[in-house]
């Protein structure tokens, strides 16, 4: 199957070469995606992630068990034909909860990255392009946030949230906001650096010589050049956010029960009996985090190689 696809690919490429390069004028982004499509490891990772998302989205609908349905007669059962990954201390089906937790963890990861990208990208681009006071203010704020040790900060924030008796459903959103608050300075710094260097490039001088407006120069000419970096950083950021959510929830500061998340499901490993005797409780969420983060990082690596071979560290 794979060889068939590859052969099809090879033939199409040869055909394109015969037709002449210009017959298929591709934008740099489209070409990068084609390079990515040839990276098997990255494609496997992407496939895995797509399956995971699909499973988390539609899986629970096919489960005979409800996410929060308890069963006093079936507590702490090992995996069996009816409960594929066993049940927990309330008799809830672990697999169903794992998939529901996947929804939460992936959503938190994604949403917090979207949020931190929105903030970090805007501020970074503005700082780099405008310079002067704006640059100073943004970088000061970013430095300030980066000097704060994140774990104590998270623990304090988690404690405050618990003290304020924020309802569990609502707390997820606050977790996203906190995570994005921690995440944006790194992105802002990267984007600022790139905007600073792009601003001095000849083609930006050329747009000035053509008498284009500042807005057009920024949005049409400069920012599209930062998209590759943005894609790579955002992808890697999702993995980071998922990990952070896991820390937080594991420590009981992020997503709190009964809302399931991969992090708070692993919380059971804190109990010695569960850790020694009931690996089905904490192994699946742990593996899920592990595999997801690895897959995202592989995809991110692949994207980086495809978008800009020179960006390799």
């Amino acid at each position: 199957m794979t060889t068939l696809i590859l052969r099809l690919f090879g033939q199409r490429r040869r055909a394109e070469q015969l037709a002449g390069r210009l017959a298929h004028a591709h934008s740099p982004l489209a070409e990068a995606l084609r390079r990515l499509a040839r990276n098997r490891l990255a494609m496997a990772a992407a496939l895995f992630l797509a399956l995971l998302v699909l499973l988390c989205l539609i899986g629970p609908y096919f489960s005979p068990w409800r996410n929060d349905a308890t069963d006093a007669l079936m507590i702490n059962r090992p995996p069996s034909a009816s409960h594929w990954l066993g049940t927990d201390f309330l008799g809830r089906d672990v697999l169903t909860r794992l998939l529901m937790a996947g929804r939460i963890s992936l959503t938190v990861g994604f949403a917090s990255v979207v949020l931190s990208v929105a903030v970090g990208y805007t501020l970074g681009a503005l700082a780099g392009y405008l310079g002067g006071v704006v640059d100073l203010a943004v970088m000061l704020l970013a430095d300030l946030l980066m000097t704060l040790p994140s774990l104590p900060l998270l623990i304090i924030m988690g404690a405050v949230l618990s003290e304020l008796k924020v309802p569990p459903d609502y707390r997820i959103y606050l977790v996203m906001v906190i995570l994005s608050l921690i995440g944006w300075p790194t992105l802002a710094r990267l984007i600022r650096g790139q905007v600073l260097s792009l601003r001095e490039r000849d083609f930006m001088l050329a747009t000035e010589v053509l008498g284009l407006s500042t807005r057009r120069r920024l949005f049409r000419h400069l920012l599209p050049n930062t998209v590759p970096l943005l894609i790579v950083v955002a992808t890697m950021g999702v993995a980071n956010a998922i990990l952070n959510e896991a820390y937080l929830s594991y420590l009981g500061l992020g997503v709190v029960p009964p809302t399931p998340s991969w992090g708070n499901m692993m919380d059971t490993a804190n109990s010695l009996i569960d850790f020694q005797r009931r690996p089905w409780l904490w192994m699946p969420p742990g593996l899920a985090i592990f595999a997801t983060v690895i897959a995202i990082n592989l995809l991110g690596d692949g994207l980086r190689d495809a978008l800009d071979p020179k960006m390799k560290p």
Binding site: L22, S27, L29, L205, L210, S213, R216, H221
Partner: protein, 324 residues
């Protein structure tokens, strides 16, 4: 009337090491439809003059002192930024040395060509695209529709320079600044680009400020020449007169140091010494230290640019002495 006049332009940059006098008392003018060549080695102030004209010098790092640049009778230095922007790309256009880096890698050729048309001619994107294809054909590139959809990395340097020229002439400017337009290109392509520029100039009655270090390019294209050295114009005159009868020792040195095909020399003539440090220019003639015709007071007094005959000016005591 003169289209462009530089009147005693001086530009200085304040740096940490001191003040760099990049351009001093530079005066020249370009009539409508005329090509003025500005020659000199790197760092002599050619490009700074052009950037001052476009209003693109970084301020306040660059100080422009006691001078005026007039374009079509208007003083560009006093013009508000907004009006200057409307002039750029519309009435004054510029092409660069490195076409590869002067085009945006993520936009297609057509998209980039549309930009000035949309900005200055207020064309709709669709009309601009059609115009862009016409411009690509105009600068002698085959298959314009395909090229418009191509991206810079897919074209050769010569093609890209043609695209840059197409972009520059898109709004039919009255003045084209060509800053080393052929330096980064292969010799065979250079000739083609020069031919294209000559053709466009004839058809569009476009004046040109041709900045180069290559006397061959000047001979091909320019009507008049200004030779610059260490931030000053040292000799100025019609191209034929200047090539036949160079009066400044620096101009003579430049002409002598060109390789001439067919003439075999053991060594190519070179001007000995180096350009003076722009941070500490000598009080007298900046060329004195390298000058074969140096006189006793050359290093103390600076010769002014004086008229020799009809349109030939030179800043040199030795040359004055000969003509007097």
């Amino acid at each position: 009337m003169k289209l462009l006049e530089f009147d005693q332009l001086s530009v200085a940059f304040d740096t940490e090491a001191g003040t760099v006098r990049a351009v001093q008392d530079v005066s020249f003018d370009v009539a409508a439809g005329e090509v003025l060549g500005v020659v000199g080695e790197s760092g002599c102030g050619k490009s700074v003059s052009a950037l001052a004209l476009m209003g693109l010098l970084p301020r306040p790092a660059a100080r422009i002192a006691g001078s005026a640049i007039r374009f079509g009778g208007r003083s560009l230095l006093d013009l508000p930024a907004d009006e200057l922007r409307q002039l750029r790309g519309n009435e004054i256009a510029m092409i660069f040395q490195e076409p590869m880096s002067a085009l945006n890698p993520v936009l297609s050729i057509g998209e980039q060509l549309c930009e000035p048309l949309i900005a200055h001619r207020r064309l709709t994107p669709r009309a601009a695209w059609a115009q862009a294809e016409a411009l690509i054909a105009r600068v002698g590139i085959a298959r314009p529709a395909e090229i418009a959809r191509a991206f810079p990395h897919q074209l050769s340097g010569g093609m890209l320079q043609r695209v840059m020229i197409a972009m520059a002439i898109s709004c039919a400017p009255r003045l084209l600044i060509a800053d080393e337009p052929t330096t980064a290109l292969d010799v065979t392509i250079q000739a083609q680009i020069l031919e294209l520029l000559r053709e466009l100039r004839r058809e569009q009655q476009m004046a040109m400020l041709l900045i180069t270090h290559d006397l061959g390019v000047i001979a091909e294209l320019a009507d008049r020449v200004a030779v610059m050295y260490a931030g000053r114009v040292v000799e100025q005159g019609p191209v034929r007169e200047l090539f036949r009868n160079p009066r400044h020792p620096y101009t003579r040195g430049l002409l002598a140091s060109r390789p001439v095909p067919g003439r075999r020399l053991a060594r190519l003539a070179a001007i000995p010494g180096q350009v003076p440090d722009p941070l500490s220019l000598p009080p007298g003639c900046a060329f004195a230290a390298r000058c074969p015709e140096r006189r006793t007071d050359c290093e103390q007094r600076r010769p002014a640019l004086r008229r020799l005959d009809a349109d030939h000016r030179v800043a040199c005591f030795a040359a004055e002495g000969v003509s007097a």
